[in-house]
């Protein structure tokens, strides 16, 4: 088991009033290696919160979370950062490529924390391979402002994969793309899931994208309900 969420609950408390809003309630989920999981649900249902807890960006109010057997709730912020760097790749609805860097530099950005110098050559080679794989070779020295949104989002996917993560988390990755680009990116994620042996968890409103995943869940009232694929 790559990742395990066990009886996870998450609520937000309004300061002063003490009123709690339950977002996730006693939720459990297991992600196996090479899995491709889609989570769908209405806006505000807690999909992103679930992804953030899975990606260690947020802490649950109660429950347990394990990644590669490690209890992530007990880890400090530095250990969590290391874990994110080594095991998790993120793709957000917006690409968040840094405008001051070229596409290649953006892709190499996750290699900066805690890397030995001699390893950087391998990183560069992998980055170039991945860029070529997603068809962005011609764009590698361009800045994000010189690229289309689709190109940027593909670049963001490559950045997420540069450290060979075990788990790729995508939060509405096609949300800002037109239909053509969204379809293309969906296919790319699935292909990379297979090629890179990276488990993929996608939170999306897109039925088309969800259908491409191996498993599909619906998040309703803070709980995950498995859904049959059409």
């Amino acid at each position: 088991m790559l990742a395990v969420l066990k009886n996870i609950s998450k609520y937000y408390e309004q300061p002063g009033s003490g009123i709690r809003t339950m977002v996730l309630e006693d939720l459990s989920l297991i992600i196996e290696e090479n899995d491709a999981v889609a989570v769908v649900g209405p806006s505000g249902s807690g999909k992103s919160t679930l992804l953030n807890i899975l990606g260690t960006l947020d802490q649950p109010s109660s429950g347990q979370a394990f990644l590669k057997g490690m209890d992530v709730i007990s880890l400090n912020s530095n250990k969590l950062a290391e874990m994110r760097n080594k095991l998790i790749g993120y793709v957000f609805q917006q690409h968040y490529l840094l405008p001051q860097l070229t596409l290649l530099e953006n892709i190499l950005l996750p290699t900066l924390p805690g890397k030995e110098k001699h390893m950087q050559k391998n990183d560069l080679e992998r980055a170039l391979r991945l860029i070529d794989r997603v068809g962005l070779t011609a764009c590698r020295d361009r800045r994000p402002t010189e690229l289309s949104i689709g190109e940027c989002q593909r670049g963001a996917v490559v950045r997420a994969l540069i450290n060979k993560p075990a788990l790729l988390l995508a939060d509405e990755p096609t949300g800002s793309l037109d239909a053509g680009n969204a379809d293309e990116l969906g296919n790319l994620l699935v292909e990379l899931n297979r090629e890179q042996h990276t488990a993929l968890v996608v939170v999306t409103h897109s039925t088309g994208l969800a259908e491409k995943m191996g498993r599909k869940y619906r998040l309703v009232n803070g709980k995950l309900q498995p859904e049959e694929k059409r």
Partner: protein, 849 residues
């Protein structure tokens, strides 16, 4: 790519934002450094001025109205192998007869060629009827080289002008001199022993001419010592050498052998023998007798009176008999004049002189013990002291006594006695009684006599040197050069002063920088959140941002420090032009110590970095997931409790109110510190209330904002930190202007207040020629011919005696150690409740005369 490349990429990409941050930091660092350099410049300029005004002079000995021999300079020079120059100094009033312009209290120096060795570029000493005048005097009087002017000097003489029986008539003397204007480059024109940056008014006159005019031939009252050979010379060592070479004459003592008598006599050119000087000598010379000769207004027995007679008080050794306190010996001339005999009662009347020549006639009765002949050995015309204006008078009617002498009372037989026997005392009383009656601050005897056997002049001088220290006579060296340097080094700290004045500008600069940097950071928060999401430690993200801030801080520190030099020059320009009165000299020069520059730059770097680090830490406190979501809810979630904020705000406001009430009504005089504190509290409370208003504007009960106003309030309060930054910036600027204006101290409106710095006095004047009478008394008014001035009928004069020293007011930038002393009538100050004193000491100062 590595971290360094990333940092420089960031710096270049966000160059516009960073330029704005850099500008705020540079302003603060430049103002901070510039203010510190002002301290360097003022200290350097004052030290340079000290060198300028002292030339090669290292030590000085000022003795005021105690005059020593000119030749003391030669005697001392032989001991120290360096230049020692005697000078006669006094104050004077130069008058240009062509335009009637005059200057009060100008320093007048009697010098000769020896004075030149103390200066690098000195003109020839003034000749007879010639005067060197400095630029200040020339400009103020409108004099040029070759022009003639009058110089009015206080008539001095060896005797103190306020001692009993010293004539005060015509207490000034004028001489006509031809001016030679000193060039600005001739530093001798700036000569001054006072630690003060203000350029003096100096006139140099020929030493022999000045000494002759002031009846002080061969005398000086200022000894200047140039750099002695060897570095170990101190004022103390010079005092020791002075002890070895000084003579009784340097203390105004005259040793003489009485003609036809085997007796030595020590008298003083100051009339009265100073007890501190003579007591030790008397102990060393065995068999000495003190004598005190005084002028009685009248001696009466029954209805007969003899006017103006000298009486000598002497001990039993001199009189060869013991006199009781109430006994008197008279000579045969007096016995005959009063038709009296032993056993009769004799009444003696005499004047006692108080401050400002207030004369009080007192009387004492004696019993006549015996009558001696005029040929008796104790009867001696030389017993009369050398009272100026009396001892050299041809007749009694020519007496100038300094007291009221009724010439009508002088009979022909009195004139004959004067012609035949001069001031031979007509009566003798016991020394104890005489001292009880006539001892005064100048001394308790007029002569010391002792047998010539076993003594000679050299022995007496030797006893004098062994028993009396020069400093007891006011002969003491001062390390004027070291004092000048120290006074300049510890001068008013203009660095701190300008730092305080610039404080709010510095704060504003940093606040502006912090605001702009926060703005910049807010645009990069998603970048930070992304970096955190992809595995950067928070520490790593902070270090990248801090490195960028560090480079900006360093650049701001270096460039700000350099710009600080220009800011300093701008301040110096102000201080030497529009603010000239604040420093009293246009001779401020730019000077910077490299340590100050480094300190300014480093302080700027550290402060900038600390502020930017604080901003970075604050910005990165928000949860990353929230930042990535783009929500501002986290900010709102952390807003402080309404009640605790309200409590703090009310406490601030009440404290402000109480402080203001106390400072306005609880004290007699306003305290600037209290005003500053209450003002700062008011500003903090005001900013707090603004913050509170916008923070809670959405939930304020009783306030209803709709439409445009509601939108306005919401918009302004949306980014509270930024809005408060702007409010604080404008508040600080306004506060600076208001507090500076409110604390500007003037006399306007309080000039008549007796507790103010004016003491409630309307006019104030300083004189060069001493006013020796009480101007409120009839005799004083008559003396100055103001008795008929209608306008002065209701005017009260409050007179003070000034003992010269350094200017201790805030106008003198130097740190002074010897301030001027003012002798005042404390009873009048008490009764008039004039001035406000910080502390009052009730100690009695004795021996100041």
């Amino acid at each position: 790519m590595n971290n360094t490349q990333l940092i420089f990429r960031n710096l270049w990409f966000f160059r516009k934002s960073y330029l704005a941050v850099f500008t705020g930091a540079v302003i603060s660092v430049a103002v901070l450094t510039g203010a510190l350099i002002i301290g360097d410049s003022v200290r350097y300029s004052l030290q340079k001025l000290a060198v300028t005004r002292l030339g090669k002079i290292r030590f000085s000995m000022e003795t005021g109205d105690r005059y020593f021999r000119d030749s003391l300079a030669y005697d001392l020079a032989s001991k120290i192998n360096g230049p020692v120059v005697p000078v006669l100094q006094t104050e004077g009033i130069p008058v240009n007869p062509d335009n009637d312009l005059s200057i009060n209290r100008v320093q007048v120096y009697g010098i000769d060629q020896r004075f030149r060795v103390l200066w690098n570029n000195s003109p020839a000493a003034p000749g007879e009827d010639e005067a060197l005048i400095n630029q200040n005097v020339a400009e103020k009087l409108g004099l040029g080289t070759g022009d003639e002017f009058l110089l009015k000097l206080p008539r001095q003489g060896m005797a103190p002008s306020d001692a009993p029986f010293v004539s005060e008539k015509s207490n000034s003397v004028s001489i006509r001199l031809k001016a030679r204007v000193l060039d600005k480059k001739e530093w001798v024109g700036r000569f001054s022993l006072k630690s003060n940056q203000v350029s003096p008014y100096n006139i140099y006159v020929s030493l022999p001419q000045m000494a002759a005019v002031l009846s002080l031939k061969g005398r000086s009252n200022l000894l200047l010592v140039g750099s002695p050979q060897g570095n170990s010379f101190t004022a103390g060592k010079l005092d020791t050498l002075l002890q070895q070479v000084w003579k009784p004459a340097d203390a105004g003592l005259v040793i003489s052998r009485i003609a036809n008598k085997n007796i030595f006599e020590i008298t003083s050119q100051r009339i009265f023998l100073d007890d501190r000087l003579i007591r030790g000598v008397a102990t060393a010379l065995h068999g000495g007798s003190f004598l005190l000769t005084y002028l009685a207004n009248s001696l009466s027995v029954k209805n007969k009176t003899t006017p103006y007679s000298f009486i000598t008080a002497a001990d039993s050794i001199y009189l060869k008999q013991n006199l009781k306190d109430n006994e008197i010996i008279i000579n045969s001339w007096l016995a005959e004049d009063l038709d009296t005999r032993p056993g009769d009662s004799l009444t003696m009347k005499y004047f006692l002189m108080g401050p400002m020549r207030r004369l009080k006639e007192d009387s004492t009765s004696f019993v006549i013990r015996s009558v001696i002949s005029l040929s008796d050995p104790v009867s001696d015309p030389s017993l009369m002291p050398a009272f100026p204006g009396m001892s050299d008078a041809g007749s009694c009617r020519d007496w100038e006594t300094g007291t009221v002498v009724d010439l009508k009372r002088i009979r022909d037989k009195d004139e004959r006695y004067w012609n035949d026997h001069r001031g031979t005392p007509k009566a003798f009383i016991s020394l104890e009684k005489g001292r009880k009656l006539w001892a005064n601050p100048f001394g308790a005897s007029t002569a010391l006599r002792f047998p010539a056997e076993g003594n000679d002049i050299h022995g007496i001088e030797s006893a004098f040197r062994q028993q009396v220290r020069p400093e007891e006579n006011g002969l003491k060296f001062q390390s004027v050069y070291d004092e000048g340097m120290s006074a300049a080094a510890h001068s008013t700290d203009f660095g701190s002063l300008f730092l305080s004045l610039s404080f709010f500008i510095i704060i504003s600069g940093f606040l502006l920088m912090a605001m702009l940097f926060t703005l910049h950071l807010s645009s990069r928060m998603k970048e930070a959140a992304l970096m955190s999401a992809i595995g950067f430690h928070k520490r790593h993200i902070i270090s990248i941002l801090l490195a960028e801030a560090g480079i900006i801080s360093m650049m701001a520190g270096i460039i700000g420090a350099i710009l600080g030099i220009f800011y300093n020059q701008f301040l110096l320009f102000g201080l030497t032009t529009i603010w000239k009165n604040a420093v009293g000299t246009p001779f401020l020069e730019w000077h910077v110590e490299i340590t100050t520059l480094i300190m300014g730059g480093l302080s700027g770097i550290v402060l900038t970095l600390a502020i930017l680090l604080l901003m970075i830490s604050r910005s990165l406190k928000r949860p990353l997931s929230v930042i990535l979501r783009g929500s501002r809810m986290a900010d709102r979630e952390k807003k402080p409790g309404k009640k605790s904020v309200l409590l703090v705000l009310w406490l601030f406001s009440i404290a402000t109110f109480l402080l203001l009430v106390y400072s306005l009504f609880g004290r007699n005089d306003p305290d600037p510190t209290l005003f500053l504190v209450s003002g700062a509290l008011m500003m903090a409370a005001g900013i707090g209330w603004v913050s509170y208003f916008f923070l809670h504007s959405g939930s304020w009960a009783g306030f209803s904002f709709h439409g445009f106003r509601a939108l306005l309030v919401k918009n302004v309060g949306y980014n509270l930190t930024r809005m408060l930054g702007v409010v604080t910036l404008v508040s600080l600027g306004t506060f600076t202007l208001v507090i500076t204006g409110a604390n500007r101290r003037t006399f306007y409106g309080s000039e008549n207040d007796r507790r103010s710095g004016t003491g409630g006095f309307l006019f104030w004047a300083e004189t060069t020629i001493p006013v020796e009478y009480d101007l409120n008394s009839q005799i004083g008014k008559e003396h100055f011919s103001i008795q008929d001035e209608e306008a002065l009928k209701r005017v009260h004069f409050f007179q003070m005696l000034r003992f010269e020293g350094n200017d201790a007011s805030c106008l003198n930038l130097n740190q002074i150690t010897r301030p001027a002393l003012l002798g005042v009538d404390t009873r009048y100050l008490d009764s008039a409740a004039a001035f406000t004193f910080v502390t009052l000491e009730s100690r009695q100062y004795k021996g100041l005369c």
